[in-house]
Symmetry: C5
Subunit: 91 residues, 5 copies
């Protein structure tokens, strides 16, 4: 999983049926201090929300087949999912 | 998933049977503003279209086993799929 | 698998049920000398602990579906797991 | 999938039984113009040929579990496969 | 798969049961000439040996679920495996 900030959302009408009714959020990797410094060269990703996350929140994103399994079927098109809203990062 | 712009297509006669009759599109990662700036050092990818996408459109691409599952069998060779045409990115 | 140093932990109340009761640790890739020099441009990752690892320890992290399988179900959201505490790296 | 040029081959006697009798080809990522410019910082990969590709040809390479599934069992060790010879890239 | 040089080994007492009795080797990506030049910015990886590889040898490493499948169960924690010792790279 990686730490990310929700920075926006994506709207799509023509999409895989497995994405219908799901929230597609733009996420940007951040470091453990919640800033973008170490991750600024990485483009944003789009993750499907599973925990009620909103814009500006610090979240955990999981990738690959694990992201798909977080959702009931049909879930085929999903390869990134927001699986936690972060309360606190302790270092 | 990642945001990408469709930049072209690939023609192949000698290919895996699971790619027969499928549209192979060149896609280039973009940032949330639809531009290439943050992603310019990444080479293009080739994704199989599942939503009727065309050149120049902004799309969502999914990777790995999730991409394969978007298509009925035979789908073995597929590891990247276009799963949505993006109407709008809100930031 | 990759070598990493545990640098902190993440607390989350609102999360995937499959993460309940699990320790979410911040990990940072290191080279074979345990230093960060070659890996400094990579952002931290968050891995689920399976071996009782603590802050400051040198560990091995596994990724993808293998990380998920290290835990009994429900384990859906897991895509990175700490699977070993390193005693020694011999070069 | 990604576009690559076949640049050589790898010979190995001591290998996983699932690689016996298979052609192991060196592949180097290229951009849509068939050149190496945008991809020059990436090291070569080794992919198993499934379509009769030869040195110098422009090919499509698929990754992960999809690459494995392109071959009948035993196919366990395969994580990258050449799945198409490219006739033409249209941009 | 990728070409790598075995550069050392990792010793761990406290680890996933699926790693017991297995050889954990440090591997460093190399280019097709066996040198590190193009790959020097990548940190080392740790792969489980399946072919009797030793320090200094040029090997092929496979990733993901394919790496896991190279070993009989229990193999859960494995996401990278050495699957071939390279005799020769022809370019």
């Amino acid at each position: 999983m990686y730490l990310a900030r929700v920075t926006g959302s994506v709207v799509s009408t023509q999409k895989s049926p497995s994405l219908t009714g799901k929230k597609l959020l733009l996420v940007r990797r951040v470091n453990d201090d919640g800033a973008f410094d170490g991750a600024r060269s990485l483009p944003d990703e789009v993750a499907v929300d599973s925990v009620g996350a909103g814009e500006g929140e610090l979240v955990l994103v999981t990738c690959g087949s694990s992201a798909r399994r977080v959702f009931p079927e049909p879930n085929d098109a999903i390869d990134q999912a927001i699986v936690a809203i972060v309360d606190n990062v302790s270092r």
